[in-house]
């Protein structure tokens, strides 16, 4: 009896040995790591992909030229770091892939795509909805890929995406989530978050803002700064005054209304946004020393509890009560004033608390002005409705701008580092 079973089963499988349909060797595929989407010139899409070239470190550099022009596909990039890029103008995503296969020998596999980059132009025209449709349905693209909106062209961004440390480009974006948690200057938005928010009746979408920084803001020569106070977070993407080998930076947020980009937030505002959304974990803030305004006090701020949001609907107008709880460690006292004492400590706390409350209120007003609820207050408003129909007919997004917001920040300085007292430094002797 067993013989019969075995013969039958083996027969079935023998038939299928005629071809193993889905078996692709690992080296038959080209693994795309980054996808860039622009408005094309010769066709609707300008699709850029970046992939590792599987060469062992040193290879010959090819100078790939890619000037403008008609349907172009250029490939170049730094082959010494083991990756390359290719770009093509095509009517749609999938046709573009097929067209790229004319020059790239292996089958493109998107299952390891880490980032998806849209250009700002595309976003501002409200075209993201169209362009995101194939990405969400395609089985290979995982919804945990990160979404960025880029100032300028996506193709420039991808060209400049080179690994400074190590040779793999895939590592850099894999730690992106952790970086966002640690500094809070840009949000960690995956394709899933973005896509859900596009369709949500409870709020609007955001995406992290990225840019190529051409070091223009880094003035080589000029007057030193002096003592004016700057928080350091109020730049927009691409404007950070820095230089170095890595040209790209991720900073700030793009705000969407529907699928159209309507605004941008700088670093500080992004932090407040993340605080309200409950995604802010930790970051260092700089505040002015209340007793010596030309000096600063940096604080390492953490969120101690998730923000408490209560929403009441009083005859169609929502009232939002927002409570944010923050903890901090004192990082430095430039003035050496003994802020560790309880009285002075509460002075510090009050000052910082006020600045945070101001920041949050201004941010919410800005978003109300743009008519977008990127904080997803609608999620909490849904508790006031019993059925989905009632909620959708109320249409939260329309009523957001009439909302009254009451902000309350709880702030406490917990620890002061390895010093519990600041003793003043002696003035230099012999000098007035």
């Amino acid at each position: 009896m067993r013989k019969v079973i075995i013969i039958l089963i083996l027969g079935t499988f023998l038939l299928s040995l005629t071809a193993c349909y889905d078996a692709h060797e690992m080296d038959d595929m080209l693994y795309v790591v980054s996808i860039g989407v622009d408005k094309g010139i010769s066709d609707k899409w300008r699709l850029t992909i970046q992939f590792p070239t599987m060469k062992e470190g040193g290879g010959q550099t090819q100078s790939g030229s890619g000037g403008g022009g008609q349907s172009q596909s250029g490939s170049g990039g730094d082959e010494q770091s083991g990756h390359s890029y290719a770009s093509i103008d095509a009517p749609s995503f999938f046709t573009g892939i097929d067209m790229l296969n004319a020059s790239l020998p292996r089958k493109l596999n998107f299952s390891h795509a880490q980032i998806i980059v849209f250009s700002e132009e595309l976003a501002k025209e409200g075209l993201i909805g169209e362009y995101i449709a194939p990405l969400s349905r395609f089985r290979e693209i995982r919804r945990s890929a990160h979404v960025f909106v880029v100032k300028g062209n996506a193709i420039d961004f991808i060209k400049e995406n080179k690994p400074v440390i190590g040779t793999t480009i895939s590592k850099s974006f894999q730690v992106l989530a952790h970086t966002s948690e640690n500094i809070g200057y840009f949000p960690n938005i995956t394709l899933e978050n973005f896509y859900e928010a596009l369709k949500s009746p409870c709020g609007q979408a955001i995406a992290a803002m990225a840019s190529v920084n051409d070091s223009k803001s880094f003035a080589e020569n000029g007057e030193p700064w002096g003592t004016k106070f700057k928080t350091g977070g109020d730049y927009f993407a691409g404007q950070l005054p820095r230089t170095g080998q890595n040209k790209i930076e991720v900073w700030g947020t793009a705000l969407f209304n529907g699928d159209k980009m309507v605004g941008e937030l700088n670093g500080d505002e992004t932090r407040f946004l993340l605080m309200i959304r409950g995604e802010f974990k930790q970051g260092s803030f700089t505040m002015q020393d209340p007793q010596k305004p030309e000096l600063i006090i940096p604080l390492d701020v953490r969120v101690s509890k998730k923000p408490q949001i209560d929403i009441d609907i009083k005859d169609k107008k929502p009232v939002i009560r927002l409570k944010v709880q923050l903890d901090a460690d004192l990082l430095a006292v430039q003035s050496m004033i003994n802020y560790e004492q309880p009285e002075l400590q509460s002075l510090l706390e009050e000052t910082f608390k006020k600045s945070v409350e101001e920041g949050i209120t201004m941010l919410i007003k800005k978003c109300q002005g743009l008519n977008t609820d990127v904080f997803h207050f609608g999620d909490y408003a849904a508790k006031n409705f019993l059925t989905i129909d009632a909620f959708e007919s109320y249409d939260w997004n329309r009523h957001f701008k009439e909302a009254e917001v009451i902000v309350d920040v709880n702030f406490a300085i917990r620890r002061t580092g390895t010093q519990i007292k600041s003793y003043p430094i002696k003035d230099p002797i012999g000098v007035n």
């Binding site: 067993r2 079973i5 299928s16 040995l17 889905d22 060797e25 690992m26 299952s111 895939s170």
Partner: protein, 597 residues
């Protein structure tokens, strides 16, 4: 021809044969053995001899068809190729019986043993008490010469002053003259010849129709040594040898229980090999013993190579990859199985004991688990389970992952694997099969080479040839890792036969994985899991106590603390379930009683 037959068998509809499968069902507990008429009678003799010397039970000589109950679809072709004449001694009484005349006896013996052509047989004539003719027959080399010289010949030849008879009866000899520890009187030539071949000495006396079989065995045998493939670090280091008597003694040294019963049965129609069936009466379910004896007694083949051959002939599912009888060469393991309620079959000439019935999980237990503390035993068992899992599935999973499911591999690992594969000319599955084949060849070659060279070859061959292959660009280094981990894990499986089963299953899963990726492997798990779940080993389902669920015996995956194992395994339906009458650790209760007033 055979293929045509097989195909025809598939297509044409056949009435299903009414095959009685042996099922061990729970029913009323029976303490007395069931007496079945047509089977070998239980030899519960009440004489004062120890009941191990039961050799005289004559095998049932029935003319009915061979009982095919143990073979599911009737394919007994290979079993009945050699049929020996079944002589029933009822008809041929006169020829078989001993005559009174010594001359006739001697002639018969010479004829039977082909003396003088057969130089192994020695016939020694002498006179008992210097008056009565007699001769002894023995096989040279199988007898202890001292016994014959000192205790037979000297005793018999000694002059007895007070006895002046010219005739003497065998009774007188056995009662007064022979200072031997075991004697049997026999009249049947078949038996006598068999016992002579076993090493006993046959004494024929003039005028007597009985012959005396004298225990005189003394052949060369290996002394008790350490186990070869079941070594443990902490535990007894004795192993079975080829001599049946020694093996039985080794078990008896551990279980000093008066209910431990050894029944001897000859195997096969030519009855050349004896096997001993050990069980503890009162614990073992008599149905199991009966079934074992029924199967052994119905084997009809001329020669069985040790107990491996016997295992295959009495197994329920000979085509399965998993063995249903466990072979062990350690007497302490055998003893623990006997206490559980299982039956041990030891064949003469084979240093292994076969244990039946057995379940799947017992193959992964060693005696080290019980001798160490239970935490360490648990740890070892977990490692073995992981090893068994990896040894079966790792190559198949690797193939499925790299061919079909590249999205499941972490990105960096995928890139480094791809880079390594860039220069390899052959496809992954061929690479894997070549490496596996290579590894199996090395294992097989290592077995043939003596001692240290074999082990060194294994290691050096693996490392050097593997590295050379990588350097030459024929295989990728990750594959070497996969294959060597698999090989290592298959060595961690304690039982040799099931390790073999695992080795073959590995290839099957590679095949399935290459066909359809994870889907194929899941299909393979279902098919082979289903086939394994339908197996029964002597009536006990193969995956007890997990499926079906029997009363909890915590002893499967983890090693339970020994004081919690208060009952024997439920699936054996033993007569005597409890191993203890109350708490195992009496000192705890005593302490409590002492404390609480």
């Amino acid at each position: 021809m055979n293929l045509l037959f097989a195909v025809k068998n598939i297509i044409i509809y056949k009435e299903p044969k009414n095959n009685q499968r042996f099922e061990l069902l729970e029913d009323e507990k029976e303490d007395m053995e069931i007496s079945k008429p047509a089977e070998t009678p239980e030899a519960t003799d009440s004489n004062c001899n120890s009941d191990e010397k039961d050799s005289a039970g004559s095998p049932p000589k029935q003319f009915k068809k061979l009982i095919r109950g143990l073979i599911k679809t009737g394919e007994p072709k290979d079993r009945s190729k050699v049929t020996t004449d079944v002589k029933s001694d009822q008809n041929k009484d006169d020829v078989n019986h001993i005559c009174k005349e010594l001359k006739n006896n001697m002639q018969k013996v010479k004829q039977e043993f082909h003396v003088p052509t057969n130089q192994d047989i020695v016939i020694r004539e002498f006179k008992i008490m210097q008056k009565i003719n007699a001769f002894i027959v023995y096989v040279d080399g199988m007898v202890d010469k001292n016994t014959i010289n000192d205790y037979i010949l000297r005793q018999l030849m000694a002059e007895q002053k007070n006895n002046k008879n010219t005739k003497i009866s065998v009774d007188y000899i056995t009662d007064n003259l022979l200072a031997i520890n075991q004697v049997i009187r026999q009249t049947d030539y078949e038996e006598i010849i068999k016992q002579i071949l076993n090493g006993l000495t046959a004494l024929f006396v003039e005028g007597n129709q009985e012959c005396v079989l004298i225990e005189s065995r003394g052949y060369e045998k290996r002394s008790v040594s350490t186990p070869l493939d079941e070594s443990v670090i902490k535990g007894p280091q004795e192993a079975f040898t080829e001599n049946l008597r020694t093996n039985l003694t080794l078990v008896r040294k551990i279980i000093k229980n008066k209910d431990l019963v050894t029944e001897m049965m000859p195997i096969g129609k030519a009855e050349n090999t004896t096997c001993a069936i050990m069980h503890i009466k009162g614990i073992t379910n008599p149905k199991i013993v009966q079934e074992v004896k029924r199967r052994i007694s119905s084997i009809d083949i001329d020669f069985i190579a040790g107990d491996g051959g016997l295992d295959q002939l009495i197994e329920d599912h000979p085509f399965s990859l998993f063995p249903q009888i466990l072979s062990t060469e350690r007497p302490d393991k055998t003893a623990s199985f006997l206490i559980d309620g299982k039956v041990a079959i030891i064949c003469d000439g084979s240093p292994y004991a076969s244990i039946a019935p057995i379940t799947f999980f017992r193959f992964f237990h060693t005696s080290e688990d019980t001798t160490l503390r239970w935490q360490f035993g648990t740890f070892l068992r977990l490692i073995r389970m992981v090893a068994a899992f990896l040894a079966t599935f790792l190559p198949g999973l690797f193939i499925a992952l790299t061919l079909y499911h590249q999205e499941m591999i972490p990105t960096e690992l995928l890139f480094s694997l791809s880079k390594a594969r860039e220069n390899i000319p052959i496809p992954t599955i061929l690479e894997l099969l070549v490496m596996e084949l290579f590894f199996e060849l090395m294992r097989e070659a290592g077995v043939r080479l003596p001692g240290a060279i074999g082990q060194t070859l294994g290691i050096i061959g693996a490392i050097i040839l593997g590295s050379a292959a990588v350097a030459a660009g024929i295989v990728s280094p990750i594959l070497i890792m996969v294959v060597s981990i698999t090989g290592l894990c298959s060595f961690a499986i304690p039982n040799y036969s099931i390790a073999f089963g695992v080795r073959i299953m590995r290839f099957i899963f590679i095949f399935f994985g290459a066909i359809a990726g994870f889907y194929g492997i899941a299909a393979g798990i279902i098919i082979f899991g289903g086939l394994a779940c339908s197996m029964k080993s002597f009536g006990v389902p193969y995956f007890s106590p997990v499926a079906p669920k029997t009363k909890a015996n915590h002893d499967i995956g983890i090693m339970a603390p020994p004081w919690t194992l208060k009952e024997r395994p439920d699936f054996l339906n033993t007569n005597n379930r409890k191993r203890t009458s109350g708490t195992v650790r009496g000192w705890i209760q005593q302490a409590n009683r002492g404390n609480g007033k």
